[in-house]
Symmetry: C2
Subunit: 336 residues, 2 copies
Amino acid sequence: MSLDRQQKRTTIYDLAELAGTSASAVSAVLNGNWKKRRISKQLAEKITRIAEEQGYALNMQASLLRREKSHIIGMIVPKYDNRYFGSIVELFETMARDKGLFPLITCTRRDPALEIEAARTMLSYQVDCVIATGATDPDRITELCAAAGVRTINLDLPGKLAPSVISDNFAGARELTRRILVSCQQRFGAMEPLMFVGGRGGDHNTMERLRGFRQAHADHGIDLEDDRVIACGYAPEKAQTALQERAASGLPFSRGMFVNSTITLEGVLRWVRLAGPVSEQEFALGCFDYDPLVALLGDNIEMVRQDVPAMLTRMFELIELGNFEPTVSEIPPVLR
Amino acid sequence: MSLDRQQKRTTIYDLAELAGTSASAVSAVLNGNWKKRRISKQLAEKITRIAEEQGYALNMQASLLRREKSHIIGMIVPKYDNRYFGSIVELFETMARDKGLFPLITCTRRDPALEIEAARTMLSYQVDCVIATGATDPDRITELCAAAGVRTINLDLPGKLAPSVISDNFAGARELTRRILVSCQQRFGAMEPLMFVGGRGGDHNTMERLRGFRQAHADHGIDLEDDRVIACGYAPEKAQTALQERAASGLPFSRGMFVNSTITLEGVLRWVRLAGPVSEQEFALGCFDYDPLVALLGDNIEMVRQDVPAMLTRMFELIELGNFEPTVSEIPPVLR
DNA sequence: CGCGCTTGCTCAATCGATGAAGCAAGATTT
DNA sequence: AAATCTTGCTTCATCGATTGAGCAAGCGCG
């Protein structure tokens, strides 16, 4: 592996020698508190000039070693393959930087072992705080971090040991379900019980969305058999296979479907294309997730957009408030 | 801001005291070279046990300060809002970890100033190597890093000062254009010159794709007016506005379009919906980019998928070979 | 017995930045 | 003129891990 650095880097000692002063004066000038340290303006300017000429770059490792707070904020994210997590990460980076924090992001591909490993690595890098996004075992992460005196916040999926910021899955799912039902009525002449596809039966979001899904059916006086719920995980292949099996089972099928994420939607659409009983136009789909291209291309697909800016704003608020209590903040999603 | 750590962390000195040994023995055991340092197996096991009991986490800052190579590899990425960059980042993280490198990723939202700032920050964090992905000014980054003795590799967009790994934009665009033309013929009965939408006129990829676009027209003996090319940038709003203006201008319009990215496609589709002269079905679209949901929903949209695994494999190959020469590796994209 | 060799450790310097404490020179007060 | 204050620096210990050098004990050999 050829990553060898040629020259050794310029340090404050090199700059001190060039400026005919001490390393501590250089340090004071370059980290901005030269006024407090009573360095003269002339020396400050001289040092700044020389630092620029030499292309000096601070050694963060040395600086962080000395400081008590690292101002590094870690985020653990399951995937980068959809607009939801993409916008979370992008906005998180921007907001963190605006608050003077350095964002350190790691993608765990929904691998529980990698999640723990990632948290451990972040602790090694002396993060001040860890955001566990859509983690399979957020409490494990909280425990690990707590042992090192590092606080965590759960995002997207809640935990029991740290504050959580999540979407209002119940209300969102209830409204989404209502819309799919209405669409069914408009397009097929009658409401029929919908199917629920995707998600893990045990996860909080899926459970809450199911509750909203059931409630919306009850709201309209529609009977819902339990077997209409197919919580087969989020992966497209899983959804495709599950629908295939369901169709083969002979159980009644519905043209109206509540799909738990755009990723799952991929599998649903693939199944519709390859083996669906009727064409895509004959379905009324709803997706608890948002993708602008789907919104444009899928005429018959209702979407719920989780309010990422509001979620992250709330999250940073919790950090600033110093809130450690395992409260749950539910953010209403945005319906188009 | 309440990010205060409560306890101070366990250090190798704490562990040494608990084990009744020296910090240097602890260090040797925990970083794996205790055999070389002739530490007995018993002591090694004892130290390992105690470290685990205490939930010890290495202080990377201290460790990195002492070592010559950081094994941190930085990546600068423009956006997270599409599958292309999403898969680049996700696979990059995985491959880097597999090679024992720590991936440090920063998103610059196509902001040239932020790009430079990000490179500077990475240097502060002592990265061994920087990957500049889709950078607006890759050579500036290379210069900056070179001054610190850090090498760079350009990904997606080439530079003149460092090795570059990019898609074979010419061949990909030529084939994509051919397919759109064929689709036009099949669906509208005749080939007509296409429009080219999106991208920046100055960027290498756009120029190469335009060359392929023109070549494909020439291959079929089709005359192409220069005004069919609308290199209005990648942003959806830009594309939407540009198409609006073009339509209002009275110049001839084509139903066949070469769209430069899924992001631009968003704007094109929005325009088609809101103000297109005919319905979406009456267009023959092609997109130099891939998105599985578009592939499923857009019947009349041809797509080119850039070969991310091959690109990253080549990139890591260059690192391992220690190649510093500003060569360009062109990776053939995948046509469906 | 004395010499060299191996084993299994410890000591102490070091990486680069930080900041409390200290010090010398000049300015101001009494 | 002496006492005190202010200004503008420098000195040095420190953060935690790493590693070359060194050292003591045990062993084998002539």
